[in-house]
Structures are given as C-alpha cells and as structure tokens.
C-alpha cells in the first residue's frame, strides 16, 4: 500500500511497486485525463506535474512517487479556468485533443518555472511532445498569449 499525493489529496494505492504511474492513474484510479501514447517516454502524451515540474507518467513507477506531489489535468483547476486552459480554448488549439492534456501540463510546468519563457525554451519543451493532428502553430499562439499576459502583470 502506497500513499499517493495526487491533486492535493492522498490516495491509498494497492498495486505493484513497478507499475508505472500512468496505469495507476488510468486503470487503478480511473482518472483517464492522462493519456497513453508510447509507453517509453518519447511522445510526452502522459505528461503530468511532479512537484510542479513536467514528467512523463509512463516513466515513473509507483514506488518512485513516494514523497512527491503530483498534479494531473483533472487537478489543474475546478472549473477549467486555469490561465493555460483558457488560453488553449481561446486559441482553439485542440484538434482531436488526445495530446492536449500533456501539452497543457507542459505549458504549466514551463510557466511555473519562469513567467516568460524564451522561444527556445518553449521549442525545447514542446518538442518532446507529439501531435499527429498538427496543433503546433496554435500551441505557439497560445504560448505567446500566455507569455505576453505574464509580462503585463
């Protein structure tokens, strides 16, 4: 039994130590907002926050979650009104939408580190992710909206 600190709650998890957090979230807890894409850490679809920083849930075993704090897309805001979520809707970023929870968590991580990340930092962060539909130009727009509104504050 492992205590998992997730979205500001503690969950008692009865699952093998080696089980990747991705499957704990999706199949044990039934929280399906975090998506499965590659399982080997090359598509970043399953990106969540570990102590505020982007990590891939398929690359973290349950055992390694001890002492850490996790946030998934479901825990980002109560009403979908986190600034990143709002920017994503405003710029009509999503197409099929499957990769977007991961993209949004990446944006949160990046903006949490520095309020106005450079273009190269944005490039680097999102280049870990795969989108087959082609939402890259609109992610760029949404990020520039967020960076500019960050600068104004």
């Amino acid at each position: 039994m492992i205590d998992l600190n997730l979205n500001e709650k503690t969950f008692k998890i009865d699952a093998p130590d080696e089980m990747p957090l991705l499957w704990v979230l999706r199949d044990v807890l039934g929280m399906t907002g975090t998506k499965f894409g590659c399982g080997v850490g090359v598509c970043a679809t399953c990106t969540i926050l570990e102590n505020g920083k982007a990590v891939m849930a398929c690359q973290i075993t349950l055992e390694k979650t001890k002492g850490n704090r996790y946030t998934t897309i479901e825990g980002l805001s109560k009403d979908g009104d986190h600034p990143v979520q709002k920017a994503w809707v405003q710029c009509d970023v999503a197409q099929c939408g499957y990769c977007q929870p991961g993209m949004i968590m990446e944006a949160c991580s990046l903006l949490g580190e520095v309020s106005s990340p450079s273009e190269s930092a944005i490039n680097k962060a999102f280049s870990n992710h795969i989108c087959r539909c082609g939402t890259y130009p609109r992610i760029k727009q949404a990020m520039s909206l967020l960076v500019n509104s960050g600068k104004k504050e």
């Binding site: 699952a15 093998p16 089980m19 990747p20 499957w23 999706r26 199949d27 044990v28 039934g30 929280m31 399906t32 907002g33 975090t34 998506k35 499965f36 894409g37 590659c38 399982g39 080997v40 090359v42 598509c43 679809t45 998934t72 897309i73 479901e74 980002l76 805001s77 979908g80 979520q85 994503w88 809707v89 009509d92 970023v93 999503a94 197409q95 099929c96 939408g97 499957y98 990769c99 977007q100 929870p101 949004i104 490039n123 680097k124 999102f126 280049s127 992710h129 795969i130 989108c131 087959r132 539909c133 082609g134 939402t135 890259y136 130009p137 609109r138 992610i139 760029k140």
Partner: protein
C-alpha cells in the same frame, strides 16, 4: 389557446419529442438534440455540422445538445462512415434539409398557437415570436408540432442566403472537455467490472499459433485469464500494466507461414522492375510524336515508402457481450461496417449490436478498419464480462493496415527549342489498396483508384499516357490521410518541375501556361488558375523573403477542392530547413474558417511527417516499434503557415485531405531550386 405550456400541470411530466427528421429533435422540456452522423477525429465535425443545420433553422448552434450517432436503420441513406474528406460534402444537403424541416414544423405549430399567419412569425433565440411582440418557446410548441402531418409542400432548399454562422470562425465545441481532461476517447471507456487485455499477435502475417505456455503469465499479479482468439493469444488482466507484463511472459510458438522472408527493400526493387510489365493503360491522349533530332527525352523514377498511420491514441476497443446483446465502444471511422461482422461473431441479430462511438484520438484512415472492434467482440463473447483490448505502440505500428510503397516511372519528350513538352507519361507500380481492402473490387475501380492524381493530370500536353502496374502483396493495406493522391501528386508535381527546368521555364508560370492549353473541365481550370495567381502574389513568387532561400510550388484538384502550395526553404551544407508553407485553397463554401485553417495546418504536419519516416519489413516482420524508429514532425520543426481560403458559392467540398499532397512536392521542388539535391526517394533520412 393560452400561453400556458400544455401538459406542464401534471406532476408526471412526460417529455414529448418532435422529430421531423432523424438528425434533429425538439423536446417539450426545451432541449434541442442534434445527431452527429460522422465521427469526431479532430476534423471538427461536431462543431461544423451543427452550424449548417443551425443556419437553415435560424438558430444559434450553441443551443444544440449533441448526440453521437450509432449505426441504425433510421438514418436511411446516411452513412456514418467518416473519411475521404466527405463529411460536409455529403451532409450539407441532409443537414440543411433537416434544419428547414424542423423550422417549418415549429412555425406551423406557432401559427396554430398564436392563430396568425407565417408572415407574422419569426425565430428569435429558441422561441418563435410574433410581430406584435408575443413569444413562445420551441419546447412549448412541441405538443402541437407532434400532431402535425409532414409538410408535403415544403419549399425546396434555396441557395444559401444568410450567413449568420456559416463562414464565421467557430471554436471547437469539445474544447472545454478536452482541456479539463474529461473528454472521453475509446481508450477511456470504463464500463463497470472492466478487464484489460493485450494480444500476443503472430510476428509475421500468415504465421499461425502452434502452442503456448501461460504458466508464468498466470502467476503475474493481476492476470486473470489467457484465451485464444483469431488475432492471437489474449492476456486478460485487472489493468493494462498486468496485461502487457503477462503478455511479455507468455511463451508462444508459431507455425511459419509463406511470408517469413518478406523484405520491403526487395519488394520496392520488384516494384521498380514491375514498371516494365504491360500494366493497364488508363489514359492515352494524342500520339507519340515522330522522332526528331531536336527533341529530348527526360526520365525519372520516384519512390514512396510504406507508412503507418500512428494516431496518438493507439488502437483499442471495449466490448460487453451479454446473452442477448452486443455492446462495443470504439473510436471508429466506420461503425456501420462493424455491425454485420459483429453479428456473425456473437450470433446476436444486427439490431442487438450496439456500436458506441466516443471521440477518436486521431483517425487518419486507420480507424475505418474494423479489426480492433472485431477482436474485442470475439474476446468479450468468450468472457461474457466487459473487456478492453489495448494495443501498445508496437502493436499499433506492427498491426497492419499500411499505406503501401509505390514506384513512379515518369518520362517526357521535350522540344527545347520551342520550350514545350510534347509527351508526358506516368506509370504507377504498387500493390492495390482498394483490392487489399476489398478483394472483390473490379479491375477498373482498382486502376482508377490507384491512379488518383496521376490519371487526372490537368496539364495541356498533346500526348499523355498513364498506366497502372499492380504487384500483389499479402500485407493488409488501408486508406491513409490523402490516400494515393500523396505518392501520385508527389511524383507528378516534382516531375513537372523537372520538365520546366529542362525547358528553362519558371515552374509556376509553366503550370499556368499548361493549364491554359488544357482541355479539361473549364470550371476546374478556372479554379486552378485562380488559386495559382493568388499564391503567386502571396508568396511574392519567384522571390523568397530572404536571399538564401528558394520557393517551390505544386498544385492539384482534390475531388473538387483546389489547392496550390508554395514552400520556402533554405539549403546549406546539404541540410535543408523548411521555413514557410503558403497554401491557397478553394474548398467551396466555407463553413468554419477556423476549422479549415486547422485542417490546413494539420495537413502540412501530416505531409512533413511523411518526409521523415517509413515502415520497413525484414524477414516478414515490421522493424519499427515506436515513434523513435518511426519519427514524426515535432514542434521545433514546424514551418510558418500562411493560408488563404478562397470563398465561393459552390457547395462545401473536402478539406481534411486536400492540403496534404502538394506539400511534399512543393518542398522538394524548393530544395532543388535552392541548390539542394533533387530528391526522388522518400523518406529523406539525411537532412
């Protein structure tokens, strides 16, 4: 008749439903439901289709509640099949008609309600109002509307007159659910007591199961059962992790089939040799000119590799088969096709087979094949409890249904002194997707399908010869975003540039001059000429925006959607960079410009990804197992996108696929014009 809503006095409020058409219903509680008959895979049908109905009905699309259609006989001639960029093209008239019918019924009900004539009534919000200021909600009109006879004298559809919603940017209706993680895809289906299964599949097509030992598998915590189905050996577990781990521990022996030596490099060499086979001549215009010393022949061979679809949501499906009913939840592009096949597996009559269609995490054609649904139904029929079969990325890349390799033999006879081409020939050598997807396909259909984009070359050259050279293949082949147009247009539009270069002509102006001499459909040629002249201006052709860059062009008509694309690239030290893609697209009446722009952006990403990757077969097996070996376009590689949408009064045409094929030749033509190599083989592995 009073203004008090009818029937609301009773405690037991029975909801009455007025449904003049299977696509739309108005309920007495005020809800208006519209049925979306196409699968949502990111192309935006759940946003755009309601706009069409709303415009005709005179209401805001935001008032609709969306229902996703399941296969049913009630939709009559409407196919739930989603592909070929046909959703708006085929649903335009049915949706407008549904809007007109429901509006007519509500207005007739309002005539009775108020005792006034139609000319006194209009629709405002979700009510009908009179000129003297009275108002009744749609819901309150339902009890009258349900008693109406269908209107035999319904006015025919007119040319679109209002554009309150059509042609205006509308944001994706599912966006709020997508950004908060509540949007549900097939892989997110969680019926009660769900088990998860992974399938150990034969590594080579044609191999069959010899024996297996599940002892270790069954000792993996969470693994419950191991069952044999047609697709392979299924490991059923409490969660996906245990299912995958259990599968890893399975010891399986296979009987070798006839394809254990298959090698895609060999096959591509055979495709090249196959260009010499007689083939089927699909088009032969004019006569080959008499030889002359001044004439010059140019020839080139273009090759295109095997591709997978690799949608980000791996294949999966969930089913529950009870004694009397079959339920399957699957992100399918063609749910209709599943019903009769499922009925054969479970022996339930077709009306007891329920196919539920959640959101699709990308489709690109792959999800129109029924295999994920059928294998889970087979397993659920054994288990009699709900089960999801989940594919990992290797299953997805190795599980079949590829876009096939093809080889293109191009040749032309030129008269350099007059700067003109006298003869043009395009031979396509490939296995047939159509025949693989439906072995009963007639030869003529096979030839026409495999030559899409080749046979319909629009250029005015006196002698033209187009032929198809089929080479059968055992691997399951399937439709892929922009289908055969991608390889065929790549070869055609690159070779036209090679001809232009040999004749010392500007490639864009050369296309204009060839089109002006063409004998094809004048309306099509006018559209092509129009988009080319716009692209010329937008891209400042032939001058790139920076000194060390070059522009390349390609154009086509994709079954009614006319597209030209100009790529701006730079080449240095044998590396190239794609800076910008200009697109000019005439797709008929524009329903949602925001959606059209998204589709163009997506098409560019699809095409540029195809420049980077391929599927190989060695010893019968697929080599690639994840995105590491099958790379796709990444964020940092995305060029700037400049799109111009030409508005028109033509009915809406397709837009998901049409902006795909020209991207590749535009880029390759630009690379050649920038001093880089003339690439005739894809993918380009050294950049």
């Amino acid at each position: 008749m009073g203004l008090k809503p009818m029937g609301l006095d009773e405690k037991a409020k029975e909801i009455l439903i007025y449904q003049p058409n299977p696509l739309v219903s108005v309920q007495s509680d005020g809800k208006i439901l519209i049925t979306v008959t196409k699968s949502e895979m990111g192309q935006g049908v759940r946003t755009s289709m309601p706009m069409i109905l709303a415009e005709e009905m005179g209401v805001d699309p935001a008032i609709f509640i969306l229902q996703q259609a399941s296969p049913s006989s009630k939709y009559k001639g409407i196919s739930l099949g989603t592909g070929g960029s046909t959703s708006l093209k085929t649903m335009w008239t049915p949706l407008r008609k549904a809007g007109l019918e429901v509006k007519d019924g509500l207005l007739r009900a309002a005539e009775i309600f108020f005792g006034v004539n139609r000319d006194q009534l209009s629709i405002r919000g979700s009510s009908v109002v009179t000129k003297d200021g009275r108002s009744v909600s749609f819901g309150d009109l339902v009890p009258i509307a349900v008693k109406l006879e269908p209107n035999k004298y319904l006015e025919p559809l007119k040319k679109v007159s209002s554009r309150n919603y059509l042609g205006k940017d509308r944001k994706r209706v599912d966006a709020p659910a997508i950004v908060n993680g509540s949007a549900r895809y097939g892989i997110d289906m969680r019926p009660k007591a769900l088990k998860f299964a992974a399938i150990k599949r034969p590594p080579v097509w044609g191999n069959t199961l010899k024996s297996f030992d599940a002892t270790v598998t069954l000792s993996v915590p969470g693994v419950r059962r191991v069952e044999v189905i047609t697709a392979g050996v299924a490991v059923v577990a409490d969660n996906s992790y245990a299912a995958f781990l259990g599968r890893e521990k399975l010891k399986v022996r296979w009987n070798s089939g006839p394809h254990t030596a298959f090698d895609s490099d060999d096959y591509q060499r055979q495709l090249t040799q196959n260009l010499e086979s007689p083939g089927k001549v699909a088009r032969k215009d004019g006569v080959y000119p008499e030889p002359h010393n001044d004439f010059k022949t140019i020839e080139a061979t273009y090759s295109f590799p095997f591709h997978a679809h690799a949608p980000l949501e791996p294949m999966n499906a969930t089913a529950h088969v009870t004694q009397t009913e079959t339920h399957v939840w699957v992100g399918s592009q063609w749910p209709d096709a599943i019903v009769p096949l499922a009925s054969k597996i479970t022996s339930h009559p077709q009306e007891k087979v329920n196919v539920h269609v959640p959101l699709l995490g990308g489709g690109f054609g792959r999800r129109s094949a029924p295999d994920p649904a059928l294998e889970v139904i087979e397993l659920a029929n054994i288990l009699k409890t709900p089960v999801q079969i989940i594919w990992d990325r290797a299953d997805d890349l190795r599980g079949g249904y590829y876009h096939p390799a093809s080889i293109h033999g191009m040749s032309a006879l030129l008269n350099p002194s007059k700067q003109e081409a006298l003869y043009y020939s395009h031979k396509v050598s490939s296995p047939s997707i159509l025949r693989s997807s439906n072995p009963k396909s007639p030869d003529l259909a096979v030839v026409n399908t495999e030559l899409l984009g080749a046979r319909d070359v629009p250029y005015g050259i006196d002698a033209v010869e187009i032929s198809y050279h089929e080479l059968p293949l055992h691997i399951p082949l399937w439709w892929w975003r922009a289908i055969q147009f991608v390889p065929n247009i790549y070869a055609r539009e690159c070779f036209i540039d090679e001809i232009a270069l040999s004749l010392d002509r500007d490639p864009l102006e050369y296309r204009q001059s060839l089109l002006s001499k063409s004998i094809q459909d004048p309306a099509l040629l006018e559209r092509l000429m129009n988009v080319i002249s716009i692209a010329k201006e937008k891209s400042n052709w032939p001058n790139p925006s920076r000194k060390n860059r070059a522009l390349g062009v390609a154009c086509m008509d994709y079954e009614g959607t006319t597209v030209v694309q100009v790529a701006e690239v730079s080449v240095s030290k044998k590396r190239f960079k794609i800076h910008k893609i200009y697109t000019v697209i005439d797709c008929g009446l524009v329903v949602n410009p925001l959606g059209v722009n998204a589709q163009v952006e997506g098409a560019i990403v699809w095409a540029l990804s195809a420049l980077k990757s391929q599927i190989h077969f060695k010893k019968g097996r697929v080599v690639e197992k994840n995105y590491k070996e099958y790379p796709v376009l990444r964020y940092s590689e995305m060029p700037e996108v400049n799109t111009t949408i030409v508005d028109s009064d033509r009915n809406p045409q397709g837009v998901g696929e049409p902006p795909v094929p020209c991207v590749i030749p535009a880029v390759l033509n630009a690379i050649a014009r920038a001093g880089g190599p003339r690439y005739r083989s894809l993918p380009i592995t050294k950049r």
